[in-house]
């Protein structure tokens, strides 16, 4: 099954790197949505089917923590798995986020193998080669 993935990061470069990593990791993607902050992400989430969200923490307008809180309180969005992609290395922060429902944490910089491993852990890896 190919995934509908939403990448949320205020950096176009980072969004491109994550998209390229998904390709290099041979992850089957049906639709790749992109948002520059949590508020833009919520608009996409309520209007498009999304199977998995990659989100940064530190973004203008609405950061990743508030996005996770909003999704966890929403009857339709709470079950969508969220993977946080961040430079922060605080184990305390990771524990807090997992307590809020975040399924996995990927620390930057990362290799394509790491993104594949984390998707495998969260949803099972759909292989692009079928």
């Amino acid at each position: 099954m190919a995934l509908n993935i939403l990448i949320v990061d205020d950096s176009q470069i980072v969004r491109s790197v994550i998209a390229k990593s998904l390709d290099l990791a041979n992850v089957a993607v049906r639709t790749l949505h992109q948002a520059g902050n949590g508020a833009e992400a919520l608009k996409i989430l309520v209007s498009h089917p999304v199977d998995l969200v990659f989100a940064d923490i530190n973004m203008p307008v609405m950061g990743g923590v508030e996005l996770v809180e909003r999704m966890s309180r929403d009857d339709h969005l709470w079950s969508i798995p969220i993977i946080i992609v961040s430079t922060e290395g605080s184990a305390t922060r990771v524990e807090e986020l997992k307590g809020m429902g975040v399924r996995a944490y990927l620390r930057k910089p990362f290799k394509p193998e790491a993104i594949r491993a984390v998707i495998d852990e969260v949803v099972g890896v759909p292989n692009a080669n079928g």
Binding site: V14, V17, N58, S86, T87, G89, S90, K108
Partner: protein, 154 residues
């Protein structure tokens, strides 16, 4: 800046730029950087928590596009790369900052990080950066790069 902190900045910056941009950095002497007259851009961000302060990375404008090209695996003159050059410098700063804080404070503290900002530096500002305590100079593919960690008391 304490000598130990400079070592952490050096180790982390060299490791991060190799991992995200596949570029090799080596520490250079600040004296070798004197007289630079290229146009520089500087990305900076502040952090607050167990440690408080600011981290900045200054690079020549040409090198900024080179870094972006390497991050994306594209040619530096590709329009997508040139428009995203400042973005890539912010990302290099962001990742470097996260890893420096973990190296200095361990993996328990939580820090509030500001959104990175990018500004142009004139020659006077570059010379001030060279003279500032806490600045570490690097050569990245022959380009000069200045990284400054400022830690504030309290």
């Amino acid at each position: 800046m304490q000598t130990g902190n400079k070592e952490v900045v050096s180790e982390v910056f060299c490791s991060v730029i190799e991992q995200i941009a596949f570029m090799f950095a080596e520490v250079a002497s600040l004296e070798d950087m004197a007289g630079m007259d290229q146009g520089f851009v500087e990305a900076s961000m502040s952090f607050d928590g167990q440690l408080r302060g600011r981290l900045s990375i200054a690079v020549p404008k040409d090198a900024c596009a080179l870094i972006a090209g390497n991050v994306l695996g594209m040619e530096p003159d590709d329009p997508f790369v040139t428009t995203g050059a400042a973005d890539s410098l912010k990302e290099l700063l962001n990742v470097t900052c996260g890893h420096i804080l973990t190296s200095l404070a361990g993996d328990r503290p939580v820090f509030d990080l500001s959104i990175p900002q990018v500004v142009d530096l004139d020659e006077e500002a570059v010379q001030a950066l060279l003279a500032a305590p806490g600045t570490v100079a690097f050569r990245v593919e022959d380009a000069p790069v200045l990284v400054r960690l400022e830690l504030r008391e309290g």
